[in-house]
C-alpha cells in the first residue's frame, strides 16, 4: 500500500467526515439548546439532499442556488415541525420526543419515496469543480476539497455565531437556564424555533452538499442518523467541538477501514465508541448533564 493511496484515502475520509459533521452539528445544537434529541434529523438531511437534487439535477439551477433553495425549503418544514409537533411535547420525557421524531422518520421516508421514487442518478459536476488538484503527488478531486473547506468554514462560523454575537450569547444563556432567560425578557419559544431551524438547515446543508457526488435515496437519513448518533455520543452530546472531532474520527476511520479491513469497518467504529464511553461516559468533550 503506497503512501499516495493512504493519503488519498485520508482526504476522502476527511471530505465524507464533513457531511457527517454538518449533520451532527445540527443534532447537537438542537439537543444542547432545546434538550430535544431529534430522531428525524437524518430525515432533514435526506430532504435537503432531495430538494437540492430537484433544483440542480432536474430543474437545472445553479448548484449554489439549488443548495440555498434547499436550505430554505428544509427550514420551512423544520419550523412547521417544531411549531406544531415538537413544541407540544417539549416538557415531556426524552423518550416521547424520540418516539414522536421516530414517527416523523417513517412519515418523511415514505413521503420521499412517494414524491421522488427510488434511487437516483448522480447529476453531473458543475464545471468549476471538475478536475483535480495535485497534493503531494496525488490527484485529488476539487469538489472534495471544496466540501472540506465548507465544513471547516461552517465550524468557524458557528463558533463565531455562538461565542461572538449577541444572538449567540442569548442562545447560550437560554440553554443554561431557560426560565431565567425568559424572566430577563428573552422570547424563549421564538428562540427555540430559530435554533431548531438552524439545526435543520445544517442537516440540509450536509445533504445538499453531497448532491453532485453522493447517491440520493430514500432511507439515506435512517443510515446517516445512526452515524450521527455515534458521532455525537463520541464527542459528547451538546458539544460542537465534540461533534466536529467525532465526525472526523468516524469519517477518517471508516475511510481507512474500508481500505484496510473492509469486513470489520463498521464494527471498528462501534468498538471505538464503546471504549470511549467506558473511559469517558459523557463523550470526549461532553459535560455531565441530563
Amino acid at each position: 500500500m503506497s503512501f499516495q493511496v493512504l493519503l488519498y484515502q485520508g482526504l476522502v475520509g476527511l471530505s465524507s467526515a464533513m457531511y457527517l459533521w454538518l449533520l451532527s452539528a445540527g443534532l447537537t445544537i438542537v439537543f444542547g439548546v432545546l434538550g430535544v434529541l431529534n430522531f428525524a434529523h437524518g430525515a432533514f438531511f435526506m430532504i435537503g439532499a432531495y430538494l437540492a437534487y430537484t433544483f440542480y439535477g432536474i430543474l437545472g439551477f445553479n448548484l449554489a442556488v439549488s443548495i440555498a433553495l434547499s436550505l430554505v425549503g428544509t427550514a420551512v418544514i423544520g419550523v412547521l415541525v417544531e411549531r406544531f409537533l415538537v413544541k407540544p411535547i417539549m416538557h415531556l420525557d426524552h423518550a416521547f420526543q424520540l418516539l414522536l421524531t421516530f414517527g416523523l422518520v417513517l412519515i418523511f421516508d415514505d413521503l420521499a419515496k412517494a414524491i421522488w421514487g427510488g434511487v437516483f442518478m448522480i447529476p453531473p459536476m458543475p464545471r468549476v469543480f471538475q478536475g483535480a488538484v495535485w497534493i503531494l503527488g496525488t490527484p485529488f478531486p476539487i469538489y472534495n476539497l471544496f466540501v472540506i473547506g465548507a465544513g471547516v468554514a461552517v465550524w468557524l462560523l458557528l463558533w463565531l455565531l455562538f461565542e461572538k454575537t449577541w444572538w449567540g450569547r442569548i442562545v447560550r444563556a437560554t440553554a443554561a437556564d431557560p426560565q431565567m432567560a425568559a424572566a430577563l425578557g428573552v422570547d424563549v419559544k421564538r428562540l427555540y424555533t430559530g435554533v431548531f431551524a438552524l439545526g435543520v438547515m445544517l442537516a440540509a446543508l450536509g445533504g445538499a452538499l453531497g448532491t453532485p457526488v453522493r447517491v440520493v435515496a430514500p432511507g439515506m437519513g435512517s443510515f446517516m442518523i445512526v452515524q450521527a448518533f455515534i458521532v455525537t455520543v463520541l464527542g459528547g452530546l451538546g458539544s460542537l467541538t465534540g461533534a466536529f472531532v467525532g465526525a472526523l474520527l468516524v469519517g477518517v476511520l471508516s475511510s481507512y477501514g474500508t481500505l484496510l479491513f473492509p469486513t470489520v469497518e463498521l464494527a471498528l467504529i462501534y468498538l471505538i465508541m464503546a471504549v470511549v464511553l467506558l473511559v469517558r461516559p459523557h463523550g470526549l468533550f461532553g459535560r455531565a448533564r441530563a
Binding site: A95, G103, F108, D109, F229, L237, M273, L277, P281
Partner: protein
C-alpha cells in the same frame, strides 16, 4: 417517567372474562380459519413476545431501547444455525434464547451504566453493530442472502417424545403454547419484588438507591430478560419462515417493538400484546390500499404521542370510562387520559425527582 404501568389492581371479573375469551378464540381459531389467518396470528404472537419483553425495559424500567432487533436477529440466526445442523426445534429455540441473552448481557453491561438518551443511542448503535456483523460475516450468516432452507424440525423432548410441527396449524399451537408460557413468566416477573423494584427505579432512581436497590444490576437483569424475549421471538421466526435475512436485525425493526408497544399502551401489562394485534391488522389493511404503510404508521405514532400517550387500547378504555361508565353513573371527574407533565418545581429538583443523573 410516569408512563409505565400503574400499580396493578387485582384482575377484575371483567378482565378475567376478556382474557378467557381471548384464550378461547386463540384455541378455536385454527379450526375455523384459513392457513393465512393462522400465519398472521402466529406473527401477532411473536410480535407480542417481542414487544412485551421490550416493555419490561420501557414501560416498567423506564429505559427506551432502540436495539431490540439485534437480539431478535441473534435468536433467529442461532436457531436457524442449530436447525440446519441438528433438527430439534427445542434445541434451536433454547439455543437462540440463550445466545440472545448472552449478547444482551454484554451489550447491557456497556449500556445500562447510561440512562435516558445515552442508553437509547447506545442500544441503537450496538444493535446496528450486530446488524453489520450479520450482514458482513458471509461465511457464517450467509451475508445479505441470509440463511435459507431452515427445516421446521419436530419438537423433540430429548428422545422422550417427538411431536411434529410441520404444518402451519401444528406450528400455530406450538407458538401459542410458547406465548402463554412466556406471558405467564413475564407476568410473574413483573409482579415479583424484582418487578416492583424496576418500577421504583423508573419513577425515581435516587429514591430506589436510598432504599437499597442496586439500580444497575436491576437494569441489567431487565435488559437481559428483554433480550431473551426478543431472542425467543426471533427463534420462532426461523422455522416459521424457513429463512432469515439481516433485515430483521436492522434498527427499523427495533422501531417495530416501540411502535407495537406504543400502539397497545405502555401502562398495562397486556398493552404490547394488544398492540401486536393492532399492528398486524393495521399493516394488513393498509398494504391492501397503499404501499406507503409506514406513512400511515408514522402518522399514528405522531397522533398517539401528541394526544394518547397511554396507547390506543388505553384511549378506548378511557373513552369507555368517561362516556359510558361515568355517563351512566353520576358525573364524576373523568380518569385522566394522558401522562401529566412534571409538576412545576425548580428544574434541578424536578430532575432529581425524575431520577436523572445529577
Amino acid at each position: 417517567m410516569k408512563a409505565g404501568p400503574a400499580p396493578q389492581a387485582a384482575a377484575t371479573g371483567a378482565a378475567r372474562i376478556v382474557y378467557g375469551l381471548a384464550l378461547v378464540i386463540l384455541l378455536v381459531l385454527p379450526f375455523v380459519s384459513s392457513t393465512y389467518t393462522q400465519y398472521l396470528v402466529i406473527h401477532m404472537m411473536m410480535l407480542a413476545i417481542y414487544a412485551l419483553g421490550f416493555n419490561l425495559l420501557f414501560g416498567y424500567t423506564g429505559l427506551l431501547s432502540f436495539g431490540q432487533a439485534a437480539f431478535y436477529g441473534i435468536g433467529a440466526y442461532v436457531c436457524a444455525g442449530i436447525l440446519l445442523r441438528y433438527p430439534s426445534l427445542l434445541a434451536g429455540i433454547l439455543g437462540g434464547v440463550a445466545a440472545a441473552a448472552a449478547v444482551a448481557l454484554i451489550i447491557g453491561l456497556l449500556s445500562v451504566r447510561h440512562t435516558r438518551i445515552y442508553f437509547t443511542m447506545l442500544t441503537l448503535a450496538f444493535g446496528m453493530l450486530v446488524y453489520s456483523v450479520l450482514w458482513k460475516w458471509r461465511a457464517v450468516t450467509g451475508g445479505d442472502d441470509g440463511l435459507v432452507g431452515i427445516p421446521r424440525a419436530p419438537l423433540d423432548f430429548f428422545g422422550l417424545a417427538v411431536i411434529p410441527v410441520r404444518t402451519v396449524t401444528s406450528f400455530y399451537f406450538f407458538v401459542l403454547a410458547v406465548t402463554l408460557v412466556a406471558l405467564f413468566v413475564l407476568h410473574r416477573i413483573v409482579h415479583s419484588p424484582f418487578g416492583l423494584s424496576l418500577q421504583g427505579i423508573r419513577d425515581s432512581e435516587v429514591r430506589s438507591q436510598f432504599v437499597g436497590v442496586h439500580v444497575r444490576k436491576h437494569r441489567l437483569l431487565a435488559f437481559i430478560i428483554a433480550g431473551a424475549y426478543a431472542g425467543l421471538a426471533g427463534a420462532l421466526l426461523a422455522p416459521l419462515e424457513s429463512a432469515v435475512t439481516p433485515v430483521i436485525s436492522h434498527w427499523s425493526h427495533s422501531g417495530d417493538a416501540v411502535l407495537v408497544t406504543l400502539l397497545g399502551g405502555v401502562r398495562a401489562f397486556f398493552g404490547p400484546a394488544i398492540g401486536a394485534v393492532l399492528f398486524v391488522v393495521i399493516r394488513e389493511l393498509v398494504v391492501r390500499i397503499t404501499e406507503y404503510w409506514q406513512l400511515v404508521m408514522g402518522i399514528i405514532v405522531v397522533v398517539l404521542v401528541l394526544g394518547f400517550r397511554g396507547g390506543m387500547a388505553q384511549a378506548v378504555m378511557d373513552g369507555w370510562q368517561r362516556w359510558v361508565v361515568h355517563g351512566l353513573a353520576q358525573r364524576q371527574p373523568p380518569v385522566p387520559a394522558q401522562v401529566q407533565a412534571p409538576a412545576p418545581v425548580g428544574q434541578a429538583q424536578a430532575r432529581v425527582e425524575r431520577g436523572e443523573e445529577p
